[in-house]
Amino acid sequence: MWRVRSALLRREAGAAAAVGLAIAGLALAAPRFFDIATVQIFLLAIPLVLAASMGELLVVIARQVDISIGSILALSAMIAGMAFRDIAGLPVWAGFVLGTSVGAAAGLVNAVLVNGLRINSIIATLATLNVFRGIVFVISGGHQISADQLPAGLLALAQTGFGVVPWLALIAIAPFAIAHVVLVHTSLGRHLFAIGSNPDAARLRGLPVGRTTGLAFVLSGAAAGLAGVMYVARFGVVNPSSAGVGFELSVIAAVIVGGVSIGGGVGSATGALLGVGLIGIVQVALPMLNVSHVWQGVIFGFIVICALLVDRLTQGGLSRLTRSSGASA
């Protein structure tokens, strides 16, 4: 138990060191980074990834992956946006409830495919990534939602806040707090770690493996749905073909960089938060360092590979993966 705890601390220490290095490097290269205005840009850049990564975190700990969250974000953003457009006087909170429920329903579809029909989670969510995107086109008729169709109260969430902190960033604290409490203080969290560490043993021990991983997919969908409504508030535009495209990469990168092992069974909300911070710093810092935005894909891909290599070197989950496949063979 003690060793497990110290290993967790070490893994988060790696992410924290990376964030510290990035901030120190920026302090030298671009002191502008510490202006209030830049801090505000940073705090506006991370809430979407932060919210969605807290759901992805639970799925990855259970040794699965959800790559459909970019399309779930688009689906939730489009349905919430259409509701705001078509229902006059719809309260902002109702839009958040609607979008989060849409996301949870989409997550339920993933859960049924992965647990009910036993389809490999990456293949299943690759399929739903495209199915959900297609549904966005069908329900929207290919038309985008624009800012003049949205209530001012919703858009204000991104433009005003508590001091320098935009309301959106404060909203994103909720999924972080929920994920932290679930992982540290509930039996659901313990079950997720047990399943991710050794699914066979978890099943033999009598844990509800299917229900628990299914719930992780539903929560991941709900988190991506919440991020979808936040997307509407932040950008004021929902385009059916571009909303959320490639979003899953930022989220998976943040989760892996945060020391969550892709082999399952290892990870924490705090680590993922640090990963989100690093991704956010990279996003905000690139333009300040005069690096063209076209480099973003290269850098994100590079970060993912590096994080995987670090995970491999620290023998996180991969030794477990090899061991379990060797045992079942």
Partner: protein, 329 residues
């Protein structure tokens, strides 16, 4: 574990499912349009997807060996972009072609070395390299599109030999080569054995790492050939070439009966699944279903095919009634 006779009966199930679906698609198409069953029309339709079918052949072998490659679309794009940049810079044409092909093989080798040499899981690794390669293509070309190819290079789909369009001929020839490689050589038997039981393959003295690295490199090379064919057919190369094509490529391989768990798959099945995809997409175009809406059908087809390929009829139950069961992967 199913008994031996049942597993033999089940071993051809996916190819039978594909054949059945092809008949259904032909019938549905014939109902929609009397010209649908015209061989010339269907062969011409095949030229639109021949590049993807070509890559699906090598992707089949990668999946049979127990790995997966989600970076195929990005490798197509980057190799075509490197070729286009060389042409644009007045590099001798043969050298440009060689550079495109070599870059594809090199990218596949990078995937292979990360997966085999560093022991990373191929699913996440190739999501990372997909972003990396696509990002490099973006950096290389940005918003430019290269169109200044020599006149003789453009229009591979207009060339026909004995009434068969050249891309379809290339695909057929490649399928024949791939079938020999996978089903009639020592290398092919090793690929299958590695997928069936990696530990047994290791004890049999097979260099697993070497075989897998070759497969990834071969996959990259096939992507480069596909990229060249696309540049000829479209007459233009942009950084977003073949965007999202990994869905169709993986769909062709898996619908063709390749098991995502590895160890099972035939080139014949993949070739048949290619024609099924041609029929479905052509039918949807005839029915005036928009490209984005086609995503729903393609994603659903992927799910249905995976489920259908795992349905097996078990003849021997206690009371003598044949039973339909869903095999687990």
């Amino acid at each position: 574990m199913t008994d031996r006779s049942a597993s033999i009966a089940a071993s051809w199930a996916p190819e039978i499912v594909v054949g059945f679906l092809i008949v259904c698609a032909l019938a549905a198409g014939a109902l929609m349009s009397p010209n649908f069953l015209d061989a010339t029309f269907l062969l011409d339709a095949g030229t639109l997807y021949a590049e993807l079918g070509l890559v699906a052949l090598t992707t089949t072998m990668v999946i049979v060996s127990g790995e997966i490659d989600l970076s195929v679309a990005s490798m197509i794009a980057l190799s075509a972009c490197i070729f286009a940049v060389c042409v644009d810079a007045q590099v001798p044409f043969a050298v440009s072609v060689a550079a495109g092909l070599a870059s594809g093989a090199l990218m596949g080798l990078v995937n292979g070395l990360l997966v085999v040499g560093c022991g990373l899981p191929s699913l996440i690794t190739t999501i990372g390299t997909a972003a990396f390669f696509r990002g490099l293509a973006d950096v290389l070309l940005g918003d430019r599109s290269v169109t200044d190819f020599p006149a003789w290079w453009i229009g591979i789909d207009d060339v026909a030999i004995l009434g068969i369009p050249a891309p379809v001929l290339i695909l057929a020839a490649a399928a024949a080569l791939a079938a020999v490689l996978l089903h009639a050589t020592v290398f092919g038997r090793r690929v299958v054995l590695i997928g069936v039981n990696a530990s047994a393959a290791r004890y049999a003295g097979i260099g697993i790492g070497g075989v897998k690295t070759w497969l990834f490199a071969l996959n990259g090379l096939a992507c480069a050939v596909a990229g060249l064919m696309m540049s000829s057919r479209l007459g233009v190369v942009r950084h977003d070439l073949a965007s999202g094509a990994e869905l169709q490529i993986i769909l062709i391989a898996i619908v063709g009966g390749t098991s995502v768990a590895g160890g099972r798959g035939t080139i014949g099945g993949t070739f048949a699944a290619f024609w099924l995809l041609v029929l479905i997409q052509t039918g949807m175009i005839l029915a005036d279903i928009g490209i984005e809406r086609q995503l729903i059908v393609l994603g659903a087809t992927l799910v249905v095919a995976i489920i259908a390929s795992r349905l097996s009829i078990e003849p021997a139950t206690k009371n003598g009634v044949p039973r339909l069961t869903l095999r687990r992967i």
